[in-house]
């Protein structure tokens, strides 16, 4: 019950401030306006278009990041030579605030879908990569020895010991990566988009429609929360065996 108190108080304050006219609607739309705007956007189909476009970009960018992170992370985690060759460069790239790549990406890929998906993928890649490499490095050598004693082949050692041992870390990385994907989506769509939730934000700003801006923010919150909840459920299901306090 306690966790509802602060949101309810905030909601009441929002309602009172806008209804009494203390805050003008061009500064902050009232809850009623926001609900009306949601219904209107849903009826015209714009809501689904923007929501769909954003989800598609996140899903595609995240999937690409996941594939790249799995390939590169396995290489770096599994081979000293690959680690020496790749990791310093990747760590240097990681040190660049990823949004600094935006101008270059726009120049190379234009303002189309490719640029947005690429930006999302860059954002999601690093948390997954870092988690996977540290997961592989952290595998208990003693468990690997057990596999060796039972005469497991290299591939069996990977599938039966290394993969399950690494999975919990990988899933945590994927969850953080998905959160990053949403973050980078906003950046991509704020810069150049004709649809998507980020577009809803800029459109609302340009037309001074605070109700539209609030709808976009609410939808971001819902999407972010849903993907986080989904990933946590996946962690519980696939890595419930870990003997640690859940993060």
């Amino acid at each position: 019950m306690g966790r509802f108190i602060v949101p309810l108080v905030l909601f009441a304050a929002w309602w009172t401030a806008t209804a009494s006219g203390a805050i003008k609607s061009y500064q902050l739309a009232s809850p009623r306006d926001v609900v009306r705007e949601v219904i209107e956007l849903a009826q015209t189909g714009l809501l689904w278009r923007d929501l769909g476009a954003s989800i598609e970009r996140v899903a595609l960018g995240f999937a690409i990041a996941l594939i790249f992170a799995l390939v590169v992370g396995s290489l770096v985690g599994g081979s000293r030579a690959a680690e020496r060759a790749l990791d310093p460069t990747l760590q240097a790239i990681r040190a660049v605030p990823s949004l600094a790549w935006v101008p270059l990406i726009l120049l190379w890929l234009g303002i189309g879908e490719a640029a947005k998906v690429t930006l999302v993928a860059i954002g999601a890649f690093f948390p997954i990569y870092v988690a996977l490499v540290s997961g592989i490095h952290g595998v208990d050598r003693k468990l690997v020895e057990v596999g060796t004693i039972f005469g497991l082949s290299r591939s069996a050692l990977i599938t039966r010991v290394l993969v399950p041992a690494t999975l919990p870390q990988l899933l945590v990385g994927a969850r953080i990566g998905l959160t990053q994907a949403w973050l980078f989506l906003v950046a991509a769509e704020l810069l150049a988009a004709t649809n998507g939730l980020g577009f809803l934000l800029t459109d609302g700003q340009q037309t001074s429609r605070t109700d539209e801006i609030l709808v976009a923010i609410l939808l971001f919150a819902v999407c972010g929360k849903l993907s986080e909840t989904g990933m946590r459920a996946l962690e519980r299901r696939l890595a419930g065996w870990t003997d640690t306090v859940p993060a």
């Binding site: 003693k142 468990l143 020895e145 057990v146 060796t148 004693i149 039972f150 039966r160 010991v161 399950p164 041992a165 999975l167 890595a239 065996w241 870990t242 003997d243």
Partner: protein, 233 residues
């Protein structure tokens, strides 16, 4: 017929020579306890026989399956007890043995539990069941009781003794505890020196009594303590 035959074993870590020509035979069904001071090479010997360490010379040959049990259970935390025990099983015969070995170590009721839900003693018994599932001719036991409290220790020791008798498996037990050695082994050897050599070898109940082993280990109990011990046993 021997279960393990070690001839001229040489093993060095850098410039430090652990063994320089060690010979040891373990007869079929024989249980040999290896004692010695910390760092004398007991565990290294076992790891060489298990194939976890490459020797620098000499030959090690074993007959039949070899099962290994460590100081820690080393269960796979993502598998329940039954699946852990099933891990080494390669065919239906070995899989068919799973219920038996679970019963043997008294874990039938805990087959579905994850390692994190087991006590230390239960986890170690699960590890023993896993080591038994291929019906090994030789069990390599590296301080298997060291991490257990006194009661669990006696419990597992007794269970292991019964199981070894039942399966007629040979065993090499590395331990620092004379009582563990006397409870399990037919023969006790003491490793000493650098490079380590067999400083003492005796049959339990004949030449390898508690005092003889302690003497070989260079442990001197104060006379008063010795008298008290004699009086109580």
């Amino acid at each position: 017929m021997t279960s393990a035959r070690i001839r001229g074993l040489r093993k060095a870590y850098g410039s430090q020579l652990v063994f320089d020509g060690l010979d040891l035979d373990v007869a079929r069904g024989e249980r040999v306890a290896v004692l010695g001071a910390s760092g004398c090479g007991k565990s290294t010997l076992l790891r060489c026989v298990a194939g976890l360490e490459r020797s620098d010379g000499g030959t090690i040959s074993t007959t039949g399956e070899v099962g290994v049990m460590f100081q820690e259970p080393r269960l796979f935390p993502w598998l329940d007890v039954e699946r852990n025990v099933a891990f080494p099983a390669r065919d239906d015969t070995e899989r068919g043995r799973i219920p038996n070995v679970l019963a043997l170590v008294g874990l039938t009721h805990a087959a579905r539990r994850l390692p994190k839900e087991l006590s230390g003693g239960m986890a170690q018994r699960a590890a023993l069941a896993r080591a038994l599932v291929r019906d090994p001719h030789l069990l390599l036991l590296d301080e298997p009781f060291a991490a257990l409290d006194a009661l669990r220790r006696i419990e597992l020791r007794t269970a292991l003794h019964e199981i070894l008798k039942l399966t007629r498996a040979s065993a090499i037990l590395v331990t620092h505890d004379v009582d563990d050695a006397l409870a399990i082994a037919d023969r006790v050897i003491v490793l000493a020196g650098a490079p380590a050599e067999i400083a003492f070898s005796g049959t339990v109940g004949e030449t390898a009594g508690r005092q003889a082993i302690l003497d070989a280990l260079g442990v001197h109990e104060p006379a008063g303590v010795r008298a008290a011990f004699r009086a109580s046993s």
